[in-house]
Symmetry: C2
Subunit: 338 residues, 2 copies
Amino acid sequence: MKRSPTVADVARLAGVSTATVSRCLNAPGTVRPGARAKVDSAIAELGYVPDGAARALASRRAGTIGAVVPTLENSIFAKGIHSLQNRLAAAANTLLLASSNYSLDQEEHEIRTLVSRGVDGLVLIGTSHRAPVYELLRRKSIPYVNTWTFDPRGPHPCVGFDNRQVAGRIARYLLDLGHRRIAMISGVTLDNDRASERVAGVERTMSDQGLLLQADWLIERPYSIVDGRTAFHHLMSSGPRPSAVICGNDVLALGAVFEAEAMGVDVPGDVSITGFDDLELASHISPSLTTARVPVEHMGIAAADYLISRISGRTFPERTELEVQLVVRETTGRAPDE
Amino acid sequence: MKRSPTVADVARLAGVSTATVSRCLNAPGTVRPGARAKVDSAIAELGYVPDGAARALASRRAGTIGAVVPTLENSIFAKGIHSLQNRLAAAANTLLLASSNYSLDQEEHEIRTLVSRGVDGLVLIGTSHRAPVYELLRRKSIPYVNTWTFDPRGPHPCVGFDNRQVAGRIARYLLDLGHRRIAMISGVTLDNDRASERVAGVERTMSDQGLLLQADWLIERPYSIVDGRTAFHHLMSSGPRPSAVICGNDVLALGAVFEAEAMGVDVPGDVSITGFDDLELASHISPSLTTARVPVEHMGIAAADYLISRISGRTFPERTELEVQLVVRETTGRAPDE
DNA sequence: CTGTTAGCGCCTTCAA
DNA sequence: TTGAAGGCGCTAACAG
């Protein structure tokens, strides 16, 4: 196993000092073209690749940004990550990705790992993070940004939208269609601010109309198709049926729509169903899904821009609110007459 | 911005040398319990977090594994990555993830970035990688493994299955159902060995029966639902219709099934449709999708085990073949009588 | 079991 | 514009 070439090897071959080689790599403009050419060809000849660890150690900048998402298996996160990564790559930053499986414990662990790997910044999802995490980031002065959330009064930088308000809009839309018997299949709200805010938004909007989201019509389930199916099945087979079911995200809603089909329940004739996210699939299933379009691409871009700005000492708004659009498709309709 | 504590700070506070602190971190067993306790409490008191860059530089091990996938938006890759990550984490390795958008150029770029970030090993997808990439990995002695492929005679370590053979089995299954007019919606085969092997498998199996996969019944499209739809639409609306459509993966197949529904084409009465991957969704759509179940979890585990073994100097089979199961569901049936 | 002492490969003042 | 030289924080011999 031969030793990889180092700056010293390149310098020797090019007949310059290691400092000049380093400058060619990091600030080519400050090196005379002739010298630069010699260095470049030496690099090519040796197949030199800079050592990131040494570079990070000496410069105190790793050129990596970390992100911790709840899961990669929901493609809505994958999409956001994709956009984040593209924007970061444009600024010569690499993305370090980890997932927490919706567990704060695991999230803390992943964040500690990322921090010790030396990330220059961190993208998180939601606002519910362990206090020690925030403390660690503060102590190490590592910029971070919470996404999928917008909290104008919170202490943390964020890029996203107001989950409560958007969920409220969905509820209001159904109320306007005449629905009164509204149920909700929520994601697990424990340690999940997005999920609990969405429930709160629905409850608030309903109570403004003097309506109550009954306890047995509020079902909490992990975000999976199967769980959406079983929850929907339960709602439709025990006691009086709701005329509308609000789902915490599109995955649950997909499950609900599939189960309706399997049960022979007509959507939206018998029951309206709504999602949250707007997956690509939402527009293709039949009936196509009414949902809220989360601006994941924008969110990725804005999060990247925030961190890049902070890292390079530039200023950037601490809080960015993104617009969420209600996409009305075929799973919703007027409430059936009583 | 206060300086982060270093081993020296911990050593001072604990009244030991930096070497002992280092040992507590890396080989606790070799330190006397008393000393270890003092070091541990010093670490806690200072909130010390090891510097990964320095560690990597000094030990020549970064504790990170890189992976480059074509896309994160197809959840089948996300699932595999998830399994890979879990296995790696169990061995105290972090995953560095990048995506190539099905472009070898971009893949090469991402791999170079990962290598310069100092990954200890690399997980790739398929066998089609640029020669300079293989050359770089060889020169730097970085272990790597190709996944989603099994090539017993190739020069590269691999974990996966024989795409050609599995596609052949799908074709044979349709032939056995009496289908003769078989079309295929393939992924883009350029630079994609999985896609082209699958086409080859179908062609081979058909030609063994004296049948030909006609050029106008072989459509290449990017892996997306919309492309699956348009391709299927085209197949069903120009000239004689096929009685079966083999899709290069589940995403394309989903598109085909959705479009069939939209066009009023009965599946499998008028036409049978098959996928490849077995996404969670495949079993939930209606009719549910006949497909080949790619063992992504096993693949992630085996890939992790291979790299971990290689990195720690242990031996591990260079080639692992995984079983792929044909999952027969509702989108396939006997060929209609002519 | 523990301390001393060199580096790991690169960047970054500081002078020239 | 360039070179010399001292670390960055940690690990890994090597003594003790």
